[in-house]
Symmetry: C2
Subunit: 291 residues, 2 copies
DNA sequence: GCGCTGTGATACCCGGCCGGTATCACCGCA
DNA sequence: TGCGGTGATACCGGCCGGGTATCACAGCGC
């Protein structure tokens, strides 16, 4: 009746990406005529024009843009479903945790130590955790608010910390005990490093584009840039670095994230371990403040 | 290759729900043999057993349970995608907003007044907003934290308010200026009304099971029950009701919610209107406190 | 023990749909 | 006015999804 089929959605997404039937057909490994026909069928079934076949080019209609968003989510969902199902059947059953390299090493180690069963840790690129959760390569991830895109995920706060400026040890500002964002932005010889945004692009600016923490460490040590990181990054800094607390940078909360509605027993167990840790940590913090 | 098909997922979910091939086939409107074959194909392709065909009965394997969760989400996604695509093509293009009847009437009216373009308001049952968002019947919804299930949705806080106890006007407790939860739970002649949980069931207890606010209003007026509601519910109370502030009930935040990753321009516009309202409201509140 | 009932699995056939090739209609362009 | 390139159309063949008939096997009543 009006039930979309995965094959149709795959075809549609490819055409929408290429905006060219012949190239799309080639990418799909089929001939062009069946592809044209499949898209026509889809449009007929929906009762909606998805493409404007103007002379000189194919363009998405507004409805087509809507379907493109939806279809991408659905396709990612199906491959995630297949992956998760296979993983659920595998005898090892190790929970897969994705985390950005270099982020909160200490926290992660405490979490793994506290957890009874085995966890497989995957280090992924900056901001890639969400994708790994969505396509089923990971069951849980360590992510950071407000940097990472947490929409569509359930989360549990683990740790909130202030941010610090990472400077070359010899830099004049490195002698200060605290800095403001204005201080480091004012250093025209030391542009602020730029992290990728949710969509993987970088906002324009003079600073270098950062892909991973190690690259950043090296650039700072070379005196090329200054970076803003959460305080726990101190654990992997070099002697050539100086970390100065920032008074006016937003606090960063590291969270444990997992796909919304995940009913996995193993995920639930890890979350329980994590909340236990977080509770203990906040209790210790209160005691330290009282003392 | 290993690409799940919607038809297979639909078949699988039906069998998983019925745990009986013949009945499932009947529900699907096909014969039993093709259904058996389809499930076998699915299992072969995944390389995973989804059902335990024990003598005397069919049961889901662990992997099958995982796939069932995933498949339900995907199927809901496809019908939502079709609906949203069709709606995007419709000339009227009215934004559909779902809200629980009786919740924050005042707030909603202010929101609609402030918004320039037309919004179609759908009143739905308690806790049904999430389903309407997920299956594409609504673009945005008014929901309440912590009552509603907000997982998988993006939200914007609109208003936080305390809760009040709704009592029959003649009840002894109605003369008090404030109450605690213990006060109203202690009234054995007046059981506390029970709202449905996220899954639609009710936790066991003596109070009546509530489906909508009007039903609740009537039951309270009849002296059958006492209810706990957010303060703004006062706007639709009867003269036969008394609303007494509760000192120890959690605060309730009304939020505007929409599907995560929605790129709809119309949704973004409404959210902007809403945040403008919320900002103005909090500013007025601060001024009131200063005065 | 022996049918009977009801389960899911198997065997086999048929028709429709998906994919292929060949071709058309139509545009921009030299 | 041909020529290259676009997507659409026409038509054909093989595959696969759906059908019926039947089997294998368990529980059950006699």
């Amino acid at each position: 009746m009006d039930t979309l089929e995965i094959r149709e959605l795959r075809y549609f997404v490819t055409v929408a990406e290429e905006l060219h039937f012949s190239r799309a057909a080639e990418r799909l490994g089929i001939a062009q005529p069946p592809l044209s026909r499949a898209i026509q069928q889809l449009e007929r079934r929906l009762g909606v024009a998805l493409f404007d076949r103007d002379r000189r080019g194919v363009a998405l209609t507004h409805a087509g843009q809507v379907l493109l968003e939806e279809a991408r989510v659905i396709l990612a969902g199906t491959i995630a479903a297949a992956r998760r199902t296979r993983r659920a059947a595998s005898p090892t059953q190790r929970l897969a945790l994705a985390t950005k390299a270099g982020a909160n090493h200490e926290l992660l180690r405490r979490l793994l130590d506290a957890h009874s069963t085995d966890v497989e840790v995957t280090l992924c690129g900056v901001g890639e955790q969400a994708r790994m959760l969505r396509d089923g390569r990971a069951d849980v991830a360590l992510m950071q608010r407000p940097f990472d895109d947490l929409s569509g995920l359930d989360t549990e706060d683990l740790l909130t910390e202030e941010q610090v400026a990472i400077l070359p040890a010899g830099h004049p500002l490195a002698a200060r005990t605290r800095l403001s964002m204005a201080d480091i932005r004012g250093e025209s010889d030391l542009p602020v490093a730029r992290w990728p945004r949710h969509d993987g692009t970088y906002e324009p600016g003079p600073g270098p584009e950062i892909r991973d923490s190690f690259q950043l460490a090296q650039l700072v040590a070379l005196g090329q840039t200054v970076a803003v990181l959460c305080a726990s990054s101190r654990s992997w800094l070099w002697s050539a670095h100086a970390a100065i607390p920032l008074t006016d940078a937003p606090h960063v909360t590291t969270v444990l994230a997992w796909p919304a509605h995940s009913r996995s027993r193993a995920v639930a167990d890890l979350v329980r371990t994590a909340t236990g840790l977080a509770d203990r940590a906040s209790k210790e913090e209160r005691q330290a403040q009282n003392a």
